[in-house]
């Protein structure tokens, strides 16, 4: 093994000097040559997951099977699936690239993405499991007006899902074009259709297993690249840092907080948005209902946060190693000039690194991992969106709880297919747009629209329907407007001269709006219904604490 690596490094150096001479001959191309290693490995992944979907389809009969895999997922499996759901391609590619470009800033982002998990465990996990059944609206609407509150929760869920889907689809199209040499539209259709098949036929069982397999691939692929890269630095972190600082254009500043978090408001707002956004993402919250009880729900967070923390540190090392292994090799730059534009764009650092340390095989594997990652995340999103439509809007609002299980499942399948087409259309429509703000927007809406009402409904006796509606809609509208008027949309997308809102991160401003509105309109609500809702908190509280009466607990 060591010899192979040494050989590869020597070969790499040889090709480097060779390429320096033939630099002019290297043409800058957008679409890469068809990558057969990647395609074959990806096909193996698809074949495996299709097999699982076929098996899962036979086990998906009731609504509970469809939405939550019958509550039969273990804590460990769910932990892996949550990690697989949470770590998108943006994590693997975007954060590696951020460390490569900005050094320490990328590491700060990762801590922000991670720090929400302990808070979810301490304050939310067991109450979520004890009160919820299929969607998080089950909890917000537990003692409030079913129709109005569920509609509100479903609208904000779908908003989050759509923004997140756009980010994933556009990312998928561009990535696949680069990695597999496929056409953008073909890639978008492939992702959309595979997602529809997994979710419509296999429901939560198939989605969970897609996420588990993908998480294992991601963890092992990332670890392998990291180990091969670290080998070149004698597994010494200080050695790596030393060399990285000496070549990076930031120099000593590489390990200082830098330009991404230039002003205090942005730094604080980002911290809030990422931490509480995580606690308000519908596809993540939904995963808490797939386990049998609060005990397994807690274990899920323990495993999930362990995998996430581990992988973020792997990515940090990958990004730093990339500065030397990729950043100093003209082979990976357009036109062969070091410091120019990376072939395929800034997000390709992780891929180039895989190729540099492990050749085409490892590049193919990591490319397949990236594709699988996108598929797993969009499947989770589609399922969360579909259940907001079928469970909340159709079964509870339109049919007022009288829908049969068969018709509810049928509606969720139709909703999945519609969402699949929406995702394809949005993916094609946004191809040329700068979508960097989309994930931030999804987290911002989740933090401002979903999280405040959810946490208040579990902790604050005084929350009434009126307060929940004002808080939910207020948070949703203000988060969307703050992003719309910020630089990332108002200037970068709409082409105006100056932003109306000076900050790019909405959470610090939109979250207080939501909490304040929920508080004021609950306190001032003196209706009879409000009195009953406040009274009903007592029973909800006992159930939240003990899990008595919780869905699925009795069946196992």
């Amino acid at each position: 093994m060591n010899r192979i690596v040494q050989l590869a490094t020597t070969l790499g150096l040889l090709t480097m000097s060779h390429l320096a001479i033939a630099a002019d001959a290297v043409a800058a191309t957008e679409k890469q040559a068809t990558n057969w290693h990647a395609i074959i490995m990806f096909c193996i992944f698809v074949a495996m997951t299709m097999g699982i979907t076929y098996w899962a389809a036979s086990r998906t009969k009731s609504t509970s099977d469809f939405y939550t895999a019958g509550g039969g997922i273990t804590g460990f499996q769910n932990g892996l699936a949550i990690a697989g759901d949470y770590m998108s391609a943006a994590t693997l590619l975007g954060l590696t690239a951020m460390v490569y470009m900005q050094g320490y800033d990328g590491y700060i982002y990762m801590l922000c993405f991670f720090a929400g998990w302990p808070i979810i465990l301490f304050l939310m996990a067991e109450r979520l499991r004890n009160l919820g059944k299929f969607t998080f609206s089950d909890i917000t609407a537990y003692r409030l007006d079913q129709g109005k509150v569920r509609t509100m929760a479903a609208i904000s869920s779908l908003t989050v899902v759509c923004f997140y889907l756009i980010a994933q689809m556009v990312g998928a199209g561009q990535l696949i074009k680069l990695l597999f040499g496929l056409d953008y539209n073909v890639a978008i259709f492939a992702v959309g259709i595979l997602m529809m098949v997994y979710v419509t036929f296999g429901g939560m069982v198939a989605t969970t297993w897609v996420q588990i397999i993908k998480a294992c691939m991601l963890l092992s692929g990332g670890t392998l690249v990291m180990l091969l890269a670290m080998y070149q630095f004698g597994f010494s972190f200080t050695n790596l840092l030393d060399q990285a600082m000496s070549v990076h254009k930031l120099g000593e500043k590489l390990m200082h907080p830098g330009s991404l978090l230039a002003d205090p408001i942005t730094a604080i707002s980002l911290g809030l948005g990422l931490m509480f956004g995580t606690a308000g993402l519908p596809h993540i919250l939904m995963r808490f209902f797939t386990v049998s009880d609060a005990k397994e729900a807690r274990k899920s967070v323990l495993y999930a946060s362990g995998f996430v923390a581990y992988f973020f540190n792997v990515i940090f090392l990958m990004g730093l190693a990339g500065i030397l292994i990729v950043g100093q090799n003209p082979e990976y730059f357009e036109g062969g000039t070091i410091g120019g534009k990376l072939i395929g764009g800034g997000n390709m650092v992780a891929m180039h690194l895989a190729k540099a340390v492990g050749g085409n095989m490892l590049l193919g594997f990591l490319a397949a991992v990236a594709f699988a990652t996108i598929l797993a995340v969009v499947s989770g999103l589609a399922l969360a969106g579909a259940s907001a439509i079928s469970h909340d809007i159709y079964a509870r609002v339109i049919k007022k709880g009288q829908a049969s299980e068969a018709s509810e499942i049928r509606v969720s399948r139709i909703a999945t297919i519609c969402l699949g087409f929406v995702a394809i259309v949005l993916g094609i429509a946004f191809e040329k747009q700068n979508i960097a703000f989309m994930v931030g927007l999804a987290f911002g809406v989740a933090a401002a629209a979903n999280f405040p009402v959810l946490i208040l409904s579990m902790y604050w006796k005084g929350l009434t329907t009126r307060g929940a509606l004002w808080g939910g809609y207020g948070g949703l509208v203000s988060a969307v407007l703050f992003v719309l008027f910020s630089k990332s949309v108002w200037v970068d997308v709409l082409g105006n001269a100056a932003p109306l809102f000076p900050y790019t991160q909405p959470a610090l401003f939109a979250m207080p709006v939501a909490f304040l509105l929920a508080f004021i309109f609950s306190k001032s609500d003196s209706s009879v219904r409000a009195g009953k809702e406040i009274e009903a908190f007592e029973d909800q509280y006992v159930r939240a604490q003990t899990g008595f009466g919780a869905a699925g607990a009795a069946k196992h």
Binding site: Y104, Y107, I108, L111, C112, F114, A115, W117, P118, I119, L121, F122, L123, E126, F237, T238, L241, D242, M245, E252, K253, M255, H256, P257, G258, L261, D263, P264, I265, A267, I268, G271, M275, A294, K295, R298, K299, V301, L302, S305, G306, A309, F312, N313, E538, D539, V542, R543, Q545, T546, G547, F548, G549
Partner: protein, 106 residues
């Protein structure tokens, strides 16, 4: 029926004991995480240069990297501590409370 069950559980002194013990524990841990995390964010916001200092004279390892790595590990250890206590002590108390409420029911 279940409302009566909830009523009895609420009346059980063990329920109050469980809630107060768990709340105290969960909020203490949450306060530790929130204080450390937002303390760190404040340092990033208002005194970024201090994170770039080397951890020791001549070392390449900076305070910022060391502090973050520590938080990744420490926060995860806190989740493990919570899960351990909740899945043994608190769950046992919960089961007792539910069982006693059933008994009274008969």
């Amino acid at each position: 029926m279940s409302s009566a069950m909830y009523e009895r559980m609420r009346a059980n002194p063990k329920f109050r004991e469980l809630v107060s013990r768990r709340e105290r524990f969960a909020w203490t841990l949450a306060a530790i995480v929130l204080t450390m995390f937002y303390g760190f964010v404040m340092v990033v916001a208002f005194s970024p240069a201090s994170l770039g200092q080397p951890i020791a004279e001549g070392s390449r390892l900076t305070v910022g990297v060391a502090v973050e790595l520590f938080m990744f590990i420490f926060f995860w250890v806190l989740t493990a501590v919570y899960v351990r206590r909740a899945n043994t002590e608190f769950d046992a108390m919960t089961q007792e409370i539910v069982k006693e409420a059933w008994k009274e029911n008969k």
